[in-house]
């Protein structure tokens, strides 16, 4: 019966430790969710603002130019704020709700898709802005943009045509009044007409060529500028463009989509992690209730530790078994040890504790001293404390089955390492111990660094003996000297 109570007591302590770990894990996930909420809010706000108001880049210029439109601006800004707040709250609430109440894939996809789209909108626009700004700042782009396109229209024949037209008019006039030289003027008119037509045809062709050259030059300049802008994009975008044979915009969208999906998946994953951790905590708490019930049946009294479900961590200065009177009372004969030794009566063999017995203040733990005095020092212990209890093997034994009294500072340290509060290294452990004993020890001991180092070494020694940590076989200067294996 007592052994069973002891076992249950130990299991309860372990269960409480697991609960503390689980709660720490849940708190961490909730913190991550809070950061995700803030990120989502900013993301949604940028989307709504850019979509309904103006691009955030150059917003100061935009505001200067639109100060007269205060009503519209105020309304759209309010809508952007409310939209960001509402949608991010819905998303946050949904992920918290999903953690507790499982949801179908469709609802998760809907929420995720909304986030992906808005992120896609923002990030792709942002990448374009970055690339264009980068390109426009480059000297090459500046050089291309300032190139003047001059078109050589070739030889100008209009003066010659005008001259020949005058000659042609004269020749026609002579031809009209001729009597003997008509033949000559007929030839001249025909010749001048042919020359004028040839010149006009040549001029038209030259104009056409010049126009084509002009168009090509402008097109080349534009393409050069576009190429420079495209070249200013990040290498990853150009890699996707070249690998998939798509335009740079498509490449940007593909990458932005992957990043957005990654964020949304991580966000949704947090929700799942929270749900699993909550379920785990619930199962642990149910287990704790069962263990306490079993303990009640085994020991006949409630496990009255101060380590309640909602407050598994005790103050460091508390000695837990001292507060857990019912736990002590589980070791009945233990409690009765002094009486049995003094009186030699048979009462010491009473198997079960009675309510009356539970009210006994502090029993003699069959030789083990309860730490009822806060920070008793070895100097205060009489020699009898140890020498009176010296035992020869199998000669004089503790009269009662001792139980694990409580978790001490060492167990607190192990827990602190497990939950990440303290690193299993020399300096962090030294500081951890120092903080916990500094308010208990006064006088000359407080600054005794050697003494605290001895405590740290003793902790490490026990942890290694219990297999919680090992010396790093690959230790080098600057590396970890010890490895936590628990």
């Amino acid at each position: 019966m007592n052994t069973n109570a002891y076992r249950l007591g130990q299991l309860i302590v372990l269960e409480q430790n697991k609960i503390a770990d689980a709660k720490a894990g849940i708190a961490y996930v909730k913190l991550a969710l809070s950061f995700a909420f803030i990120t989502t809010w900013i993301l949604y706000f940028i989307f709504a603002f850019s979509f309904y108001v103006a691009d955030l880049w150059g917003i100061s210029t935009w505001l200067t130019e639109n100060t007269s439109e205060l009503v519209a601006f105020a309304l759209f800004l309010t809508m952007a704020l409310l939209m960001a707040q509402t949608l991010s709250m819905i998303k946050h609430a949904f992920y918290h709700h999903k953690a507790a109440f499982k949801y179908g894939l469709f609802a998760v996809l809907l929420i995720c898709s909304l986030g992906v789209f808005m992120e896609l909108f923002n990030s792709s626009s942002q990448q374009q802005t970055i690339a264009h700004q980068s390109a426009e700042k480059s000297k090459t782009f500046d050089s291309v943009a300032n190139t003047q396109i001059s078109i050589d229209r070739g030889a100008n024949s209009s003066n010659r045509i005008a001259y020949l037209s005058g000659e042609l008019a004269k020749a026609r006039e002579y031809l009209n009044g001729c009597k003997k030289t008509c033949k000559t003027y007929q030839v001249k008119v025909a010749d001048l007409t042919a020359q004028i037509e040839a010149l006009q045809a040549g001029q038209a062709q030259a104009n056409e060529i010049a126009s084509l050259a002009s168009t090509n030059a402008i097109k080349a300049k534009t393409e050069a500028m576009s190429a420079l802008k495209e070249d200013a994009h990040k290498p990853i975008f150009k890699f996707i463009r070249d690998a998939l044979g798509v335009g740079i915009s498509t490449a940007v969208v593909i990458i932005a989509c992957l990043v957005s999906i990654g964020f949304e998946y991580s966000h949704a994953l947090l929700s799942r992690m929270l749900g699993e951790k909550l379920s785990y905590l619930e199962s642990l708490q149910n287990g704790l209730v069962k263990l306490k019930t079993d303990y009640l049946q085994a020991a006949g009294t409630e496990y009255g530790s101060s380590e309640l479900i909602d407050a598994p961590e005790l103050p460091v200065s508390s000695f837990k078994y001292q507060q857990a009177a019912p736990f002590v009372s589980g070791f009945v004969s233990f409690k009765n040890a002094p009486k049995s030794r003094a009186q030699g009566s048979a009462k010491s063999s009473d198997p079960l504790p009675t309510p009356k017995e539970q009210q006994l203040p502090f029993p003699d733990f069959g030789g083990f001293k309860a730490r009822r005095d806060t920070w008793a020092t070895p100097e205060l212990e009489t020699e009898a404390t140890t020498s009176n209890h010296q035992l020869g093997v199998h000669e004089e034994k503790p009269q009662q089955p001792p139980a694990r009294g409580s978790m001490g500072l060492y167990d607190d340290w192990v827990q602190a390492v497990k939950i990440g509060e303290c690193k299993p290294s020399v300096d962090p452990t030294w500081s951890w111990i120092q903080k916990r004993i500094s308010n208990k020890e006064t006088g000359e001991r407080t600054p005794d660094r050697t003494r605290i180092s001895a405590m740290q070494k003793a902790f490490f020694s026990r942890a290694m003996k219990e297999g919680l940590m090992i010396e790093n076989p690959n230790y080098r200067n600057g590396g970890k000297k010890y490895l936590w294996t628990a």
Partner: protein, 62 residues
């Protein structure tokens, strides 16, 4: 009969309720001073060749 009373060389072991033990008295007292292991240590004399873990467990179970 005298041969039966031959004293074996012993060692002093300092142990706690949770079964942990050390051989160093100063370490045991230091650990007690900060309530490292939840109880004050006990002392037992054991033969040098004794299985300390087993003996301590035996003492704690009895």
């Amino acid at each position: 009969m005298d041969s039966l009373n031959t004293q074996q060389p012993t060692q002093t072991i300092y142990y706690w309720l949770d079964g942990y033990w050390v051989k160093d008295k100063e370490e045991a007292e230091l650990m007690d001073s900060i309530n490292a292991f939840g109880s004050l240590h006990q002392v037992v004399e054991l033969p040098l060749n004794a299985d300390i873990d087993r003996e301590i467990q035996h003492l704690l179970k009895v």
